[in-house]
Amino acid sequence: MSITLEHVTYIYSPETVYEMRALTDVSLNIPDGQFLGIIGHTGSGKSTLIQQFNGLIKPTAGRVLYNGQDIWAENYNLKELRSQVGLVFQYPEHQLFEVDVLSDVCFGPKNQGLTEEKAKEQAVIALDQAGLGEEFFKKSPFELSGGQKRRAAIAGVLAMNPKVLILDEPTAGLDPRGRDEILSQIAYLHKVRGITIVLVSHSMEDIANHVDRIIVMNNGKIAYDDAPKQVFGHYQELEKMGLAAPSITYIMNALKKRGFDIDTTATTVEEAKETILNALDRKVENHD
């Protein structure tokens, strides 16, 4: 049960003057229940990559498998795939269109052929898990704050009960509190629903705090595919790719350079605090 890409290459407008190679020989496997982060600068192929996961675009070469089945084989039910692999685009709140929040969230499940009643049932659960209570159901989407709109849009995809939820820059343009709220909500969903989460982000701090694994895209290829600590260890290479490690990584490396005997793999404030306190305590003990 997983998403697998085998040697996927994707070329936009092939054999025209606008031909552009977006993905080159990408192979990967996303097992069920993983919390995966994808990073890469603008134009590195991230968005093209995630559109492969639910069959929005067809690879120029290579295969995409969902639960072991080739999604581009004849008679494969792509519609079913898209309801299992939900994609939340950038600025999803631009896609809210119904008269009130509840109707908007019901749209997906109704489209899947569910009865009005069943659709509503799933929508209510999704809204609750996205952190929007009953007081929001009858509000116009335009009356919500930025963070609330985005949660309503995420609920719209959740209501279809996807097994995999892909989010393209879910925190772009939100204030710090809004960012924290959306990210904890996503982490909560991962926990309560046990679904696979794929998070595309420019924010290294967001990624560092939440994911099990990071894929770094560069020029349409996978540059790194590893645990966050290992990936951020390559911070100098990441910079060359137009990325950066969390600021914590820089502090730890600078301290090491100045002669601190410390492990530099901390990526969050909490971890860094522990590491630094330990390093200083040990110094104190040595002096005794």
Partner: protein
Amino acid sequence: MGIIKASKLAFDYFKYSQTDGEIEEVTRAVDDVNLDIETGQFIAILGHNGSGKSTLAKHINALLTPTEGTLWVDSVDTSEEGELWKIRQKAGMVFQNPDNQIIGTMVEEDVGFGPENMGVPTPDIWKRVEDSLHAVGMIAYRHHSPNKLSGGQKQRVAIAGVVAMHPKCIVLDEPTAMLDPNGRKEVLQAVWELNQKEGVTVILITHYMEEVIFADKVFVMDHGSLVMEGTPREIFSKVEILQNYHLNVPQVTLLAHELKQAGLDIPDGILTVDELVEALCRLR
């Protein structure tokens, strides 16, 4: 008086009833704001979504005019209708989404649009286009089509378009929100140089705390009011207060704060990696 001065500035948004057109709801987005910004300063405005930052910013180039109180741009009252174009020439604005701001089919045409509209003679337009593209480091792209540029490059073209109008002040409303780390760096660098080299007054609205540490002054808004005002160091030494306003501090500052709470002797308001590393080295 500084280049921008607000006195008891307030602004209400009205919601009208769809049936009879009567005013149904009044929202006060900016409430009793007083400020005075000196020429040449680099100002940052922080505040959570809905705190009134953008509404305040739109007053500076007269996209909105005050419901109460007064705002002066270079001593001109923005409520005086006859002064509108003069004000927009003095204070330019750059928005969040680069794709919504570019209209030309070639970079240099886009940058020339503003001065052309102002009636600048043609040879002078070309001079201005060249100078402003130089200022943002985009001169090599003058003959390119804007839609083939990266987000950071597009945003720098948008900034050049404002610079070509020779404004005294530029207001940037979350100019980096849609950019990747590299694009963010490019745009900030361009803005910083305009401020330092050309002496343009900059007002930067952002959600990225790391972007404001070089500002001369930071304003924090909440519920339409100015609630904090000070240097970045003064503002960021108040970690808990900022968190109450739904904001945070740069990660470096947060780590320094946490270490201090844990008993280490570290000064308040640390802003950069180097400062923290120095402070920790002193403790060894």
